[in-house]
Amino acid sequence: MAEPLRAAAARAGWALRSWWLITGMWVRSTMAYRTSFALSLAANTLVTFLDFAVLLLMFAHTRQLAGWTLAETAFLYGTSSFALGTANVLVGSVGGLGERVRSGSLDTMLIRPAPALAQLAAERFSLRRLGRLLQAVAVLGWSLTALDVHWTWDRVLMVPVLLLCGTVIFCALFVGCSCVQFWWGDAAELQNAVTYGGATVLQYPPTVFARELVAGTVFGVPLAFVNWLPALHVLGRTDPLGLPAAFRFASPLAAALCVLAAGLAWRTGLRAYRSTGS
């Protein structure tokens, strides 16, 4: 029992180390063009701030959006953006899979002595992705001070758990959705619909959307476990779908299932991969 466990741990360690080394290489190459890097980082922070600016503009015209206040909406925004931002930093590059499948350059990654998924996740790593994360932390920090919540220990504990599970779910979505490109080479944008589209849905109160869409984010793509369901507990709100209270605490389970599904999709895709030849 201990032997395969140790082997799995060693493999995971090696994957992390590969990710770290390749990332470092890309960071050094980004730094070759410093002006461009500084502008990109600033622009990235700003561009992610824009959708929050839209929220602010909306709340300039109304005190409540579908029954939620600005502070509550900012909490949803901050947690959703944090989870997406961290996942984007860690594995955001997997979207480039289709290009590698089309050109056949995935072969180069497969013969290198490092896990292909770790290489792909670190490829073209760009530090400007930290921009979204910086902005998410700022919005989340503000919302936590502005929220009118009775902070009990379970609510306090819920926040870091929510951020961790949310990040894991988004990482799994990035990897899982990118696997479509093993079969459908230039459909990278489908992944954006799920990841960026999903994060945008979660930035708004669930009461904004039609019930079918909300139900789809619970039972279809398990996005609601990123922040909507745990946030209901933190903010002490009732569930528009009327689900059992246990769902609010089920994020770790949802995250584990997502990772399992993404791993399965990756293995299946890799097995189906045939090089372009020549």
Partner: protein, 268 residues
Amino acid sequence: MRGGVYLSVARGAFRRYSTYRAATVAGTVTNTVFGVILASTMLALWRARPGLGGYDAAQAVTYIWISQGLLVTVAVWGGGFQDDLQARFRSGDIAVDLYRPVDFQGWWLATDLGRAGYQLLTRGALPMLAGAALFDLTLPADPLVWAEFLLAVVLAVLVSFGLRFLATLTGFWLHESEGVRAVMTVVSMFFSGMLLPLALFPGLLGELARVLPFSAMVQLPADVLLRRRTGTGLLSLYGFQLAWGAALLAFGRAGQALAVRRVVVQGG
């Protein structure tokens, strides 16, 4: 003869984009998904504040679907010829472009118009149809209004091209125009009316947004289709778009002349 060259360049670009079928389907789905999300948020806002900005709820939702249809067509997010040109800066192929017996700016404008035409038909029209199936939209029945809208879209592409061409020209100096492009994306997303109708921007911000060229890209074509500008108002709208388009193209031309003198060719 000359015009014929540009026409075939544009046609070539149209056909080139039409070969990426999976990408078109994926992109159309993405635009539709975002359309549903944003239209829902608009409905929530208009439920709280009916008649906001002079739009009723159906018009506000229609605005969102128009803006989703224009996002890629008008390249609010950047891209199109910019990606090709950037690759040519890196490889040094840019030198070949400058030696071609056709006008550099005109060549790339023709490719961009061809690209925009393809994307208007796919990533513009298809999400709009989906939007009409899922939401109550107020679209005009009069084909003349659609023709007026089409003209506004062509002028919007012209303005957008002018801006992106200038951003790309910085590549002659910076070798890497990624940062400038990113800044341009922020500004044009915000000031084009892509995120929210400009009528919802408060005070000075709103006035600034209305005089900048970016409003020509999304807000003004949407105004035409929603019949917020008719008669002489429509003429002044076209005038605004044309004036910015001409000015930006002239700036681009001047920038190009400067850039060519100091071109450093990379690569072997």
